[in-house]
Every structure is written in C-alpha cells, then in structure tokens.
Amino acid sequence: MTQAPIISFKGVNKIYNNGTVGLKDISFDIPRGQFLVVVGLSGAGKSTLLRTINRMHEITSGEITIEEEPINDYKGQSLRLLRRKIGMIFQGFNLINRSSVERNVLSGRVSYYPTWKTICGLFTKADREMAVRSLQRVNLADKLYTRADELSGGQQQRVAIARTLMQDPKIILADEPVASLDPLTTATVMDTLQRLNREDGITVIVNLHSVALARKYADRIIGLRAGQLVYDQPIAAVTEADLNRIYAEGEQV
C-alpha cells in the first residue's frame, strides 16, 4: 500500500508537570482502516498515547499528524473540528446518566451545530433519524427514550458507540472499552467495534488489558512500557510469548 497514513507519530514526548515521563520518543504510523490494539501494563502510557491523538492531552515535543496535517497548533474552532472526526469510547462509558438515550446519542452531533442551537435542542429531522439509525447499528433502537442510567453496562457502552457514530468519525479511539464489562457483553462491544472497522472503514485504536482479546480482534498490536514503544507487529507475526514479555515487568523485549 502506498496510501499515506491517517495518523503519524514523529518523535513524540510527553512529560507531565510533576516530571513523570508519559511518552518517550514515540514514532510510528497508522494506516487508514487499521484495527490497532495497544497493550501494556497500567501506567505504561496507553491512555496518554490515545489522548494525544485528539489533543485531550498535550504533548511536550515531537509531532503528530492526522491526514497529513500537523495537529499540535490547533485551538478553538480548528481543535473542535479535529475532535469531531475522532470518536472516543471510555472505560466508564461517560454517558449523561440522568438524560435519555436519545439525548446522549444526539450529543455526539453537537459539533455540527452552533452553540445556541444545541442549547435549544434544535436538531434537524435528518439528525434525529440518524440517531435512531446509529442505535439500530448497536441493536438498541428500542431504548431511544430510556434514561441512560437504567441500562446495563454493556448497553451503556453501545450507546456510547452510537454517540460516537453521530460524529461521522474517521477514527475511533477506545480506552479500555471493556474493562468494566463481563465476558459476554465484552464480545458484543468488541464485535461492534470490529464491524465499524470493516463495514465503514473507520480506523480503530483500542487500549486493552486482555491479551486474548488483542489477538482476536487486532490487525496489528503495539506494546508500551514506561512510555516507550517496545513492540510493534502485524497480527500474523504476533506470538503468545511476545505478548507475555510485554506484561513481564522489568524484562527487556
């Protein structure tokens, strides 16, 4: 493939204000349409890495480009437009519990409207239909008017995915999306992400703890340890032993 990568890290460093190293000299490319899984111990920098892509975290040095545009200097409107094309799924779902599923899903669309229209709830008919279709894709259309906190964990995570679909994203970042779910709902959520990757060509980047899940869903696995990129292989070349080494503390890969 000669196509340009959708995301590119070039010598990215992140040092927190208290001196902790978050990311250290990270360089790699993510091709369009890839299902990338990031593995590593807690605190290895997986969440930080993910959040630098939509600038929820700022980097200290280096450069990140998305669709060949450097994103470091975006602010205000340009930053919001960047975030609009990058969906994000969280471990804790981050739904607005007291609001209806419909409102939660529509909130994924707010960056397409001026602020005053979002406050008045003036969504177009087309977008309300889009909300229903998004929910259909995660098999939850019947929950449209249910309050978000009345749903189970797995259902909430699927609503979060429907919210992300409203952004019409090119990239989905998922930060430990199944860490608080049971095995059955885990499969549903991961299958949904896989379907969006295959059917819509959305580039998906997932942080995972589970080696088994990583091997089942990934096109490619990268490993982080203490903020450094210590492993990067296409799924065909990944062995069980490699992955175990990433999780073995203190050992060099």
Binding site: N94, S107, T115
Partner: protein, 264 residues
C-alpha cells in the same frame, strides 16, 4: 489467647486526645463568651412572668382580623418566590464561574468567590434598610433584598454541588468537539438540576420566614401589619398574624420537603 499482630495505635489515638481537647476548648469558649458578653441566663427565668403576661394577652386572637391579613400574607409569599427566583437565576452563572472543576483560571475563580463572599457578608436586615431608603416603603425593597440575600446563599450552595459532579460526561462531550457552553448545558446541568431545585426550595422556605421580618422594616408584606399591631399593643391581632404566618410557613415547608424527597 494471642491476638494476631495488628498495627499499633499512637498514644494520640489511644487516649482520644483530639476529641477530648476539642470538647474542653468548646466548653471554655462557651463559658468565656457568656462572661464577656454579660448574658444573664438567670434573667430569662426571673422575667418569665412578663412572657406569661404577653401570652395571656395574646390568648384571645381577633379572628375577624384574618380577612385583613390574607392579602399581605399572599404578598409575603409572592415576595419570597420572586426574590428567590431572581436570586437563584443570577446565581447560576456565578456558581459556574466559581467551580474549580470547570474554571481552571485561579484569578477568575478568586475574584468571583471574593465578590460572592462580600455579598454574603451583608446581613439581610441591613439590605432591607438600605433598599427601603432607596425604593421607599413597599414590596419592591423586599424583593430586591431577598434576591440579593438568596443570590449570596444559593451561589455558594450551587458551586459546591457543581464541584461534586462526575467529570466523565464532560470529558466525553469535550472529545466530541463541543463548545464550553454546550458542555455545561449537556453534561453539567442534568447532573445538578435536581439538587439545584432542592436548594432553591430550601432557600424559598428561609425567605418566606425572612420576609415576615423584612416587612418589619417597611419592606412590604405581613411584617408591616405585625409591626403596626405591636406598636398599638393590639396583641389579639398580633396573635392572629403569628398563627397565620405559622400556617403559611408550615404549608410551604411541607410542600418543599415533599418535592425535595421526590427529587433526590
């Protein structure tokens, strides 16, 4: 019998030093302040006869006076509702500006909080006296007083509520590309609305009671009639006013307690 090994308590914990010292300090402060201010508890009992005398003179309420005070009583309630609503509405933006989890600029937060502290230090009776002087005797002065008084109180309660919210939904809305105002509207407001209403009702309760006293300074409502009857030593009328006010306060408290139970 041997105990399994447990961590040892320090002597401060073992002898409850903090609790005992705290209690002693409190008792000393109480005695010292009653000495210094010259409060004579004995006087309460020696002058109890005066109190009984007043009660006897109030024991035959002039029931036909009820018709006269219904209108000012309603005015008192309206003053409280208006004042509380205006104050609470104004408090929302200031509460947002004071919340440390929403506003990262210490300067902005500090200035807003200082302003709110200043507003809160003004006693409501002082405010009433000032506004009666400005707007003249009548309910306008009362409403403005109650609005400012509620504003000071509610803004503090509100920003403390905002600081306890779950930040997850805010992160989600931020990642979607929402503007700051949209984030507050979608992710903050639904989380705090019920507690806001609960505090609003609580403030309303306080204001209904407060506005009877404000009327005493000429700020409209039932207080004006209370003052008049007391000045004329017409204690049978005073009794009716007190009883009627009691009923109103009880009803408002009951409604607001019920609503708050339903909401939370």
């Amino acid at each position: 019998m041997t105990y399994p090994e447990t961590p040892r308590r320090s002597w401060v914990q073992r002898w409850h030093v903090k609790g005992i010292v705290g209690t002693v300090v409190l008792v000393v402060l109480l005695i010292a302040s009653s000495r210094m201010t010259g409060v004579d508890v004995g006087m309460f009992f020696s002058n109890f006869g005066q109190f009984m005398n007043l009660l006897v003179r109030m024991s035959s309420p002039a029931w036909d006076y009820t018709a006269v005070i219904i209108q000012p009583l309603l005015e008192t309630i309206q003053m409280a509702i208006l004042g509380t609503t205006i104050g609470a509405a104004l408090a929302i933006p200031f509460a947002v500006l004071s919340a440390s989890n929403l506003i990262h600029s210490r300067l902005l937060r500090g200035v807003t909080r200082l302003f709110l502290d200043l507003v809160r230090t003004l006693p409501d009776l002082l405010l009433a006296a000032i506004f009666v002087a400005i707007f003249g005797i009548g309910s306008t002065a009362g409403v403005v007083t109650l609005a400012i008084f509620s504003f000071g109180m509610v803004s503090k309660l509100f920003y403390e509520v905002i600081e306890t919210i779950d930040m997850g939904p805010l992160e989600a809305l931020e990642s979607v590309g929402a503007s700051k105002v949209t984030i507050i509207w979608y992710a903050v407001l639904p989380q705090i609305l019920n507690q806001f209403i609960s505090y609003f009702l609580y403030t309303l309760e306080i204001n209904v009671r407060a506005s009877t006293v404000l009327g005493y300074l000429g700020a409209g409502g039932i207080g004006v009639f209370l003052q008049r009857s007391l000045n004329e030593f017409n204690y049978s009328q005073t009794a009716v006013i007190i009883l009627a006010t009691l009923v109103v306060v009880l009803v408002i408290d009951g409604i607001s307690n019920h609503l708050r139970r339903v909401l939370l």
